[in-house]
């Protein structure tokens, strides 16, 4: 997958959760006449659901990504403090 494709996937996963939650909250408010309580609560839950979606998508992409070649890894210099 291209970089832009990955970015678009992440963005749509996050935005969709927020939009759906807010719309659901506004609908519940309209039904019960409790503006704006449900919208606020569901907006916050929507953010959480969006983050959950993004972490799941990222975990899936990491699982599908090819393993790095161990020969090409640069050894880490352990003593990198400034003393």
């Amino acid at each position: 997958m291209t970089g832009a494709g990955r970015a678009f996937r992440m963005a749509s996963e996050f935005v969709a959760a927020v939009i759906v939650a807010t719309a659901l909250g506004m609908a519940l408010d309209a039904i019960f006449g409790t503006q704006p309580i449900f919208m606020i609560v569901l907006l916050l839950l929507g953010f959480a659901a969006g983050v959950l979606n993004v972490t799941r998508a990222a975990a899936e992409m990491n699982a599908n990504a090819p393993k790095p070649d161990p020969d090409k890894l640069v050894p880490v210099d352990q003593d990198d403090d400034d003393d």
Partner: protein
């Protein structure tokens, strides 16, 4: 000037009407069933797929011809994808997944022809496809697992008090799937179609400037060619992404509970 408006390509116009359902005698109200240019393109897409697959596999050669090879490779490609994401039980959804993939792929490719609408650049098409996927996931999940389908929203190994927060989040995450699925396909195809049209519109606008304009039009021409190549990639990639996410969601219906 003709052809410089990047939005006019998305226009839907009626080709013929099947008649009106409901409404009063004066022709007010009611629901008119109309065959539009989008319907025509969907019909063409389905015919192209059907004719290609039927004609190319007609020979049933043990050593496949080149055309038959493409059909067999597309079968193998989707079958491996379904098996690896949804398991062997997911193979009962293979006809659905294959139809979805070929429909999106071929309609995106047909939409690359100049003057032809990309049907997946209308959100109603992508939403209909995504809702079809989610309906199948929910109906099959409930049919197979009964109330066990709801285990999908309850991750294992979580203490009871935390569940009061986690379950609504999981439910919202599930509800957001059809929207993200449809928004992604719609957004990519819409943006691609507009960008190609904008750059090709620059050429038409530059030509009245005389010799200098014609010389300058080479730059947007190069951009248009490059973007058309990119659109091939994006169209195929979005068909692939839509299909693989369908498989992932079907896997949730087959094995609920993480």
């Amino acid at each position: 000037m003709a052809g410089t408006d990047p939005i006019s390509q998305f226009k839907i116009y009626d080709l013929f009407s099947f008649g009106t359902i409901g409404g009063d005698a004066d022709g007010n109200g009611g629901f008119e069933l109309v065959f539009t240019n989008s319907s025509l393109l969907m019909l063409i897409t389905v015919s192209v797929i059907s004719f290609y697959l039927i004609l190319s596999t007609r020979g049933r050669g043990l050593v496949p011809s080149r055309l038959q090879l493409v059909s067999e490779m597309s079968y193998e490609f989707i079958a491996n994808m379904v098996r690896s994401t949804a398991g062997n039980e997911g193979m009962k959804f293979f006809p659905f997944v294959f139809s979805l993939f070929s429909f999106i792929l071929i309609s995106n490719m047909i939409g690359l022809f100049p003057y032809i609408l990309t049907i997946s650049s209308h959100i109603i098409i992508t939403v209909a496809l995504a809702l079809l996927v989610m309906t199948i996931v929910i109906v099959y999940g409930v049919m197979k697992n009964g109330f066990g389908f709801l285990k999908m929203f309850v991750p294992s190994g979580i203490p009871l008090p935390v569940l009061f927060i986690v379950v609504p989040i999981e439910v919202l995450s599930f509800l957001s799937r059809p929207l993200s699925l449809s928004l992604r396909l719609f957004g990519n195809m819409l943006a691609g179609a507009i960008v190609v049209k904008v750059f090709s519109g620059f050429m038409v606008m530059l030509i009245p400037l005389g010799a200098l304009g014609i010389l300058g039009a080479i730059l947007p021409l190069g951009m248009t060619i490059a973007l058309t190549g990119l659109e091939f990639l994006v169209g195929a990639l979005q068909a692939f992404v839509f299909t693989i996410l369908t498989c992932v969601y079907l896997n949730d219906a087959i094995n609920p509970g993480h």
